[in-house]
């Protein structure tokens, strides 16, 4: 009986998650197309000497590290501010969540409009305030473009950190705080020694989930810069996409996919371990 209930789901996942994975393994060991297909490890050998791949990897890590740091700190700050009852709290909470809910493609459109060098709201507002915006071409210059895509990520995903951490804060009981108050702890000491340790599970979950998503980032960058100018905002996902669907080099794309999968697996393993621990508790 239970097997009958579970079987359809297992079948679908085998066909559409596991089979593709093996299919990708097969393709990654092939070079050439049609009748000229040859089996080799050339695709994997190529990875180490491919400058584009290595720089895409570097971009992904830098992007993830910076975005994660800001999203976490800003999210925590906002969560602490909204933890206590406060007039307008529901309004603030709901409104702050909007960026996170938007379709990523819409986020791309929104920020294309905001960051347009000539008519965007950002430069328009700066000009209105008397700032010279000639050098602020945002998505058109390599360094600014990289900063822009990170800023957009922070804009969109700080709400996620905020939401999860706020839920974590609200789940902390009152007693430890009362004890800290009696001990005469300062606000900072209480935060450091009561809040942070009790919030740790929520912090870990939030960090792990965000890290996984950051490592695969694709949508907003695709819309905002398509990896450009040059290759300045190209992440691993974008490079794989380009390799497979612009240059039709499926074997090499599959090989790169495995590196990405391996890297995200390390993070997701941590996440699953945490979940298991919680299930056992």
């Amino acid at each position: 009986m239970p097997y009958l209930l579970i079987a359809p789901t297992i079948a679908v996942l085998l066909a559409l998650s596991i089979y593709p994975l093996f299919y990708a393994i097969k393709v990654s060991f092939q070079t050439g197309t049609g009748d000229a297909v040859r089996w080799s490890v050339a695709n994997f050998a190529r990875l180490a000497s491919d400058g584009f791949f290595l720089s895409a990897l570097a971009h992904t890590f830098i992007y993830a590290a910076i975005a994660l740091t800001f999203e976490f700190l800003l999210g925590l700050w906002l969560a602490v501010l909204l933890d206590r009852p406060l007039r307008g709290r529901t309004l603030f909470r709901s409104a702050l969540l909007i960026p996170m809910m938007l379709p990523p493609v819409v986020v791309g459109v929104v920020w294309r409009l905001m960051l347009n060098a000539d008519f965007g709201a950002v430069n328009g507002t700066l000009k209105g305030a008397g700032v010279n915006t000639e050098a602020l071409t945002w998505t058109a210059s390599p360094l600014l473009a990289f900063a822009s895509v990170i800023a957009v990520d922070i804009w969109q995903w700080t709400p996620f950190m905020f939401l999860v951490l706020l839920a974590g804060l609200q789940a902390i009981p009152q007693e430890p705080y009362e004890a800290a108050l009696i001990d005469g702890s300062s606000a900072w000491q209480t935060f450091r020694h009561v809040t942070v340790p009790l919030l740790k599970p929520a912090i870990l979950i939030a960090l792990l989930l965000r890290t996984m998503d950051l490592m695969r980032v694709f949508d907003q960058i695709f819309i905002l810069t398509e990896g450009g100018p040059g290759f300045s905002t190209e992440t691993v996902s974008l490079y794989i996409y380009r390799t497979a669907f612009r240059f039709a080099d499926f074997g090499y794309a599959a090989a790169m996919s495995f590196v990405l999968l391996l890297l995200t697996n390390i993070v997701s393993f941590g996440y699953i371990r945490l979940l298991q621990k919680q299930e056992a508790a």
Partner: protein
């Protein structure tokens, strides 16, 4: 802490929160305003945030003169069908995993395995899925999208519903079964009504994911007849940069159902986003 210091703190709190609020909302409002502005107002410097004469011309242009209406219908169809499939299959599996002890701890292992399939970055499966759909001659079909989005949402449904089922005491079905119900009868008559709020929230999450999904849609559909709204928008954004009004109108329409949905599942948002790891 002195009274004065406390008041100052309250003030600064509101300043920070209001700033955050403006930063979160203003860009979205800007897109909304562009979609309602004539071209003259769109390109005004300094930007016109409030004072402009609204027009619906861009919406007409996008959804009737251009193909966005078609993409919208595709998006609605794909999101609805894939959600129905994922919720049906996933709920049954979740019930099986929540209520039965399988041999060798298989129930827990299967749950973890199902969860782990959700962790694959979409680009990893995009390449083989494209090749598979090409071999099956399903590229540029709504069928392909429904199948792929069903698989995308299944692990999520299983985990969410498993959590909801486990919160209900086993005695409920046992009592119903003593009264002569079959297992499935008990599930339908006793358990499902109790998990309806959770089921509805789970379905809404699936709708959001299918509606927002971009990468797999981009890979699997290239024709006007088969693309979803995000894929259609992306194609146009890179094609004609200058049609700001059309782009914004399409963006606003893509955004509105999501915001409505999100408000509907606020209560379950944290649980949904963390796959039950944090119970908000």
């Amino acid at each position: 802490m002195s009274q004065k210091k406390f008041r100052l703190k309250g003030w600064s709190k509101y300043v920070v929160l209001t700033a955050a609020l403006v930063i979160a909302i203003a860009p979205v409002y800007w897109m909304l305003s562009i979609s309602l502005k004539t071209e003259v107002d769109q390109f005004a410097v300094p930007p016109r945030w409030i004072a402009f004469a609204p027009t619906l011309a861009h919406y007409y242009d996008a959804f009737f003169a251009r193909s966005f209406g078609r993409y919208l219908v595709t998006s609605l169809t794909v999101a609805t069908l894939s959600t129905i499939c994922a919720v049906t299959l996933g709920t049954l599996a979740a019930y099986g995993l929540a209520r039965f002890k399988l041999r060798a701890g298989l129930d827990r292992r299967l749950s973890m395995w199902i969860l782990s399939t959700r962790m694959f970055p979409p680009i990893v499966t995009a390449v083989p899925l494209f090749l598979m759909m090409r071999d099956l001659r399903l590229l540029n079909t709504i069928t392909a999208l429904v199948i792929v989005y069903t698989a995308l949402n299944l692990p999520f449904v299983v985990w969410m519903m498993r959590g909801f089922f486990r919160e209900l005491p086993k005695e409920l079905e046992e009592a119903a079964m003593v009264d002569g119900d079959s297992r499935l009868g008990a599930l339908r008559r006793v358990i499902l009504p109790l998990v309806t709020p959770g089921l509805a929230a789970t379905a809404v999450f699936c709708l959001i994911v299918s509606w927002n999904e971009f990468l797999l849609g981009l890979v699997l559909t290239q024709t006007d007849a088969s693309m979803t709204l995000p894929v259609g928008i992306a194609g146009r954004v890179t094609q004609y940069e200058i049609k700001w009004g059309v782009m914004s109108a399409a963006g606003v329409v893509a955004m509105i159902p999501i915001l409505v949905f999100a408000m509907a599942v606020q209560k379950y948002l944290v649980r949904g986003l963390s796959l039950g790891a944090v119970k908000g």
